[in-house]
C-alpha cells in the first residue's frame, strides 16, 4: 500500500513538474478569493516574479489531511478557519511557521505585538477577521430588528429564518437570543444545562428554519424572499448589499468574530516561496488593501488606519468592518479551544436534534 502511494506520488509529481517559481494558494472562492487575488497575488507576482496558481475549495482545510497523509501535497498555502488551523497543527499536518520572518508595522512595532491577540499560532498566521452576523431583507421585514433576540422572535417579525447547518455559531447565537450576554456564552455552553438551553431556544423556531451550508446561499435565500432573515458571513452580505444593491441590512448585535489564517501543509512542494508569500501578504499595507475588496477586518492593528474605500470608489469601508467600534457592542469572539474540544460532540448532538 505504502509502495503504491509512493509510486503514484512520484508519478503525479512528475506530471506536475516542480517549477520552483510558483505557489499554489487554496482559498474559499467567490468574492473572497477575488479580494485576495487583487490585494495579495497580483502585487506578490509583480514584486517577486513568482507566479501564483489560485485554486478554490468549499473549505480548504478539507483536502489537506488527505493530501499530507498520502504524501501527495499539491497546495502550498491554504486559507483555513481557526479551529481547523489548530486541529491540523495538532495532528502534525502543517509546517511550523517562523513568526520572526513577518515584517514589522510601518511604525516599527514588531509583528508579534501588531497582530490581534490569537492571530499568530505555531502553524498559522491570520489575515482577516470575519464574523457570522444575521442580516434581513428590508423589503420583507416590517420594523427594525436590533438584537439577537429579534432573530428568534417570529411573532414580532414573522417569516422564515436561515441558519448554517452546523453547531458552531448556531448554539452561541441561540444563547444570546435567549438573553445571555456575549461574555457568558462559552461558560454556559461548557455545561449540559447551557447546551440544553440553546437547543430549547432553537426548538422555538425549528419549524421556521431554512438551513444553509455554503457561504453563497444566505444572500440568495434573502433575495428570493425564501427567508426574511438569515445568519451569514458578513462579507457576503456586504457585497450583495453594496456591490449588487440588494436591500439587506446587517444586525451587528451578537456577531461572532473569527479569524481566517494562512497555513502551509506539511511537505508543501514550494515551502520557501509559500513562507515568502505569507510574509508578504500579511504585511500592514496588503491587509489594508484587501479590505477595499471585501468587508473583512485586517488581522493587524496597524492596518486599521489605512483601510480606505470599497472598490466602487465611494463607500467608506471602516464602518462595515466587523471590528469597527460601533459594531463591537455585544460581540462574541469565537472560542477556538472550545470548538476544537467539543466540535464532534456538539455536532453529533446537533445532528441528532435535526433528525428528530
Amino acid at each position: 500500500m505504502k509502495k503504491t502511494l509512493v509510486l503514484t506520488t512520484a508519478l503525479t509529481s512528475l506530471a506536475y513538474g516542480a517549477s520552483a517559481q510558483e505557489v499554489t494558494v487554496m482559498s474559499w472562492g467567490g468574492a473572497y478569493t477575488k479580494s485576495q487575488v487583487e490585494a495579495y497575488h497580483k502585487p506578490f507576482t509583480a514584486e517577486t516574479g513568482i507566479s501564483i496558481n489560485s485554486v478554490d475549495a468549499d473549505n480548504p482545510a478539507t483536502p489537506i489531511k488527505a493530501q499530507v497523509e498520502a504524501g501527495n501535497v499539491t497546495v502550498d498555502v491554504a486559507d483555513v478557519e481557526f479551529s481547523d488551523a489548530v486541529r491540523l497543527c495538532d495532528e502534525g499536518l502543517l509546517e511550523e511557521i517562523d513568526l520572526s520572518m513577518l515584517p514589522a508595522a510601518p511604525d516599527g512595532t514588531p509583528a508579534a505585538d501588531d497582530f490581534i491577540e490569537g492571530a499568530l499560532q505555531d502553524c498559522a498566521v491570520a489575515n482577516i477577521v470575519w464574523s457570522t452576523v444575521y442580516a434581513y431583507n428590508t423589503a420583507n421585514v416590517e420594523g427594525t430588528p436590533m438584537t439577537m433576540a429579534d432573530f428568534f422572535d417570529t411573532e414580532k417579525f414573522p417569516g422564515k429564518r436561515g441558519l448554517r447547518k452546523s453547531a458552531k455559531a448556531t448554539l452561541e447565537m441561540a444563547l444570546m437570543g435567549d438573553g445571555v450576554p456575549a461574555g457568558e456564552v462559552y461558560d454556559l455552553l461548557e455545561t449540559d444545562e447551557g447546551v440544553d438551553r440553546a437547543f430549547a431556544k432553537l426548538d422555538e423556531i425549528k419549524g421556521d428554519i431554512v438551513w444553509w451550508e455554503a457561504g453563497a446561499q444566505p444572500p440568495q435565500l434573502l433575495a428570493d424572499g425564501e427567508v426574511v432573515m438569515s445568519t451569514a458571513y458578513n462579507g457576503r452580505i456586504f457585497n450583495a448589499a453594496v456591490g449588487e444593491g440588494q436591500p439587506f441590512e446587517i444586525v451587528w448585535d451578537g456577531q461572532i468574530l473569527d479569524f481566517d489564517l494562512f497555513v502551509v501543509p506539511k511537505g508543501a512542494p514550494n515551502k520557501d516561496e509559500a513562507m515568502k508569500f505569507i510574509a508578504f501578504s500579511t504585511d500592514t499595507q496588503r491587509l489594508a488593501d484587501q479590505a477595499s475588496w471585501i468587508s473583512y477586518g485586517p488581522a493587524r492593528k496597524s492596518s486599521g488606519a489605512l483601510v480606505g474605500l470599497y472598490s466602487d470608489g465611494k463607500t467608506e469601508m471602516a464602518p462595515h468592518m466587523p471590528t469597527a467600534a460601533d459594531n463591537l457592542g455585544n460581540a462574541l469572539v469565537n472560542n477556538f479551544e472550545f470548538w476544537v474540544d467539543r466540535d464532534a460532540e456538539l455536532n453529533e448532538r446537533f445532528n441528532a436534534w435535526l433528525a428528530n
Binding site: R87, W211, D224, D341, A344, A352, A355
Partner: protein, 427 residues
C-alpha cells in the same frame, strides 16, 4: 488392432491428455493476460484504497504510535501508561504509579509535539479531553511528585474514571469502539457497552431513515418508469426515439443543475407556488412547503434516479414478443390477467436490475438531500462526509461506511435468494 490400454499420444509421442491440458493452460494464460491490465487497475485504484479505509475502522494508532509526517519515523508513545494498563485490570482506581506513568508519557509527547494528536484520539470518545492533553503536556516537564496531586491540580477532570476507561480502550491500536460509536453505543467507566445519551443518538436512526427513504424512492421510480418504458418499447421507432431523448436529456444534465432547478420550482416563492397563487388556487399566506423537507428530498431524488430505472426496463421490454399477450387474450384471458401472468413476469429481470441500481445509488446520496432536504436532509452519507471532511474522525467514517457496505451486501444476498442474480438483465 492397436492395444486399447495404451494411452493416446500426439504425433511427437506426448500423451494426448497432457497436450490438451498444456494447450488449455496456454489459452487460459492468454485470457488472463488480456484481463491483467483491468485487474491491476481495479486492485490499485479500487480494492486497495477501500481495504485500507475499512482497515481504519478497526485500527487507530493515535494513542500508541506517533508518526512524524516529515521523516516518517514512528515512535511508540504512552508506553508507561500502557504498561500500567496491562498490569492492572479494567476498573482499577488509578494510583500514584499510574499518574507517574502519565506524567512521563506527557513529557515525551511534548518533545514529539504530539499531545494534540493523542488528545484528538481520546476526544473522539470523550469530548473535552483534547485540551486537557495539550495543557498538561505544556507543563509536564515541570511536574513534581506526588504526581497524582500535581496532575489533578492542572485539571481535576484527570480523575474522571470514564477518561481512564477511554485511554485504556485506546491503548491498543486495534479496537471495535468506532463500530460501537457508529451504532450509538459507548463504553461506561467499567468497560461495559451501553447506549449513548438519548439526545446524542443519531446513527441508527439515520441508517433506518436512509434505508426506508431509498426503498420508497426505488418504489416511486418503479411506478413512474414502468409505463414510460412500456410506451417507449411499444411505440414505433420514430416516436420512441423522440421520447427517449426526453429520458436521456435530464440524465446527461449535471446533478447540481437538476437539484437547483427543483429548488427554483418548489421553494415557497418559487414557480409552482407563484403560479398557484396567481391562479387563485392558493392564498398568499398558505404557500405550500415542498422543499427543504422530506418531500423535497423524495421529489428531487426520484427525478434524478428515474433514468436508471427506465433504461433497464426499456431494454428488457423491447424484445418481448407481443404475440404472447395476444395469444393469452385469444384464449380468453382478461387484459389484467394477460398482463399479470404473461407480460409482467417477462419484465421482472429489468425491474430487478433497475431497482438494484436505483436503490444502491439512493443509499449513497448526500449532496441532493443536503441541498433540498432541510432539517430532514440528513442521510447516513452526509455524516460519513462530515466525519471525513469536517471532524476528521476517519475511523468513525470508515466504521459507518463499513456498516453501510455490509448492509448493502446483505440486501444483495437477499435479492439473490429471492429473485436470483442471474435473472438480472441490463439489455
Amino acid at each position: 488392432m492397436a492395444d486399447t490400454t495404451a494411452p493416446l499420444t500426439t504425433a511427437d509421442g506426448k500423451p494426448l491428455k497432457a497436450a490438451l491440458a498444456s494447450a488449455q493452460a496456454k489459452a487460459r494464460r492468454r485470457a488472463f493476460f488480456l484481463v491483467l491490465p483491468l485487474l491491476a487497475f481495479v486492485l490499485l485504484t479500487f480494492v486497495a484504497p477501500i481495504t485500507q479505509m475499512l482497515h481504519r475502522s478497526v485500527h487507530n494508532p493515535g494513542f500508541t504510535t506517533h508518526k512524524d509526517i516529515g521523516s516518517g519515523v514512528e515512535t511508540p508513545i504512552m508506553v508507561n501508561l500502557r504498561a500500567w494498563f496491562d498490569e492492572n485490570p479494567a476498573g482499577t482506581e488509578p494510583d500514584e504509579a499510574a499518574y507517574e506513568a502519565l506524567a512521563q508519557d506527557l513529557v515525551l509527547l511534548r518533545e514529539l509535539k504530539a499531545p494534540g494528536n493523542v488528545g484528538t484520539r481520546i476526544n473522539y470518545e470523550r469530548a473535552g479531553s483534547r485540551s486537557m492533553f495539550t495543557k498538561a503536556a505544556r507543563s509536564a516537564a515541570k511536574l513534581e511528585p506526588p504526581y497524582k496531586e500535581a496532575i489533578l491540580d492542572l485539571d481535576e477532570d484527570w480523575a474522571d474514571p470514564e477518561l481512564w476507561q477511554v485511554m485504556r480502550g485506546a491503548s491498543s491500536a486495534y479496537t471495535v469502539n468506532f463500530y460501537l460509536a457508529a451504532l450509538d453505543l459507548a463504553r461506561d467507566a467499567d468497560g461495559s457497552v451501553v447506549s449513548v445519551d438519548e439526545n446524542r443518538q443519531v446513527y441508527v436512526k439515520l441508517f433506518t431513515r436512509t434505508l426506508l427513504l431509498s426503498l420508497l424512492i426505488t418504489f416511486l421510480c418503479f411506478l413512474l418508469a414502468y409505463p414510460i418504458a412500456h410506451l417507449l418499447a411499444t411505440l414505433p421507432l420514430r416516436h420512441s426515439n423522440l421520447l427517449m431523448i426526453f429520458v436521456l436529456l435530464p440524465f446527461w444534465t449535471s446533478l447540481l443543475v437538476r437539484t437547483t432547478s427543483w429548488i427554483v420550482l418548489l421553494q415557497s416563492q418559487g414557480v409552482v407556488n407563484d403560479s398557484l397563487v396567481a391562479t387563485g388556487l392558493l392564498d398568499d399566506d398558505n404557500r405550500i412547503q415542498m422543499i427543504y423537507n422530506q418531500t423535497g428530498t423524495i421529489i428531487a431524488m426520484t427525478h434524478i434516479l428515474l433514468p436508471f430505472m427506465v433504461l433497464p426496463l426499456y431494454s428488457v421490454m423491447r424484445p418481448i414478443n407481443p404475440s404472447y399477450v395476444r395469444a393469452a387474450r385469444s384464449l380468453g384471458a382478461t387484459s389484467w390477467t394477460a398482463f399479470r401472468r404473461i407480460y409482467f413476469p417477462q419484465t421482472v429481470p429489468g425491474i430487478g436490475a433497475g431497482a438494484l441500481l436505483v436503490f444502491i445509488l439512493a443509499v449513497g446520496y448526500y449532496i441532493t438531500p443536503a441541498l433540498v432536504g432541510g432539517a430532514d436532509g440528513q442521510l447516513i452519507s452526509n455524516l460519513i462526509a462530515f466525519h471525513m471532511t469536517k471532524s476528521l474522525n476517519w475511523s468513525l467514517a470508515a466504521a459507518l461506511a463499513a456498516i453501510l457496505l455490509g448492509g448493502i451486501l446483505v440486501l444483495y444476498w437477499l435479492y439473490d435468494r429471492l429473485v436470483g442474480i442471474d435473472n438480472l438483465k441490463l439489455g
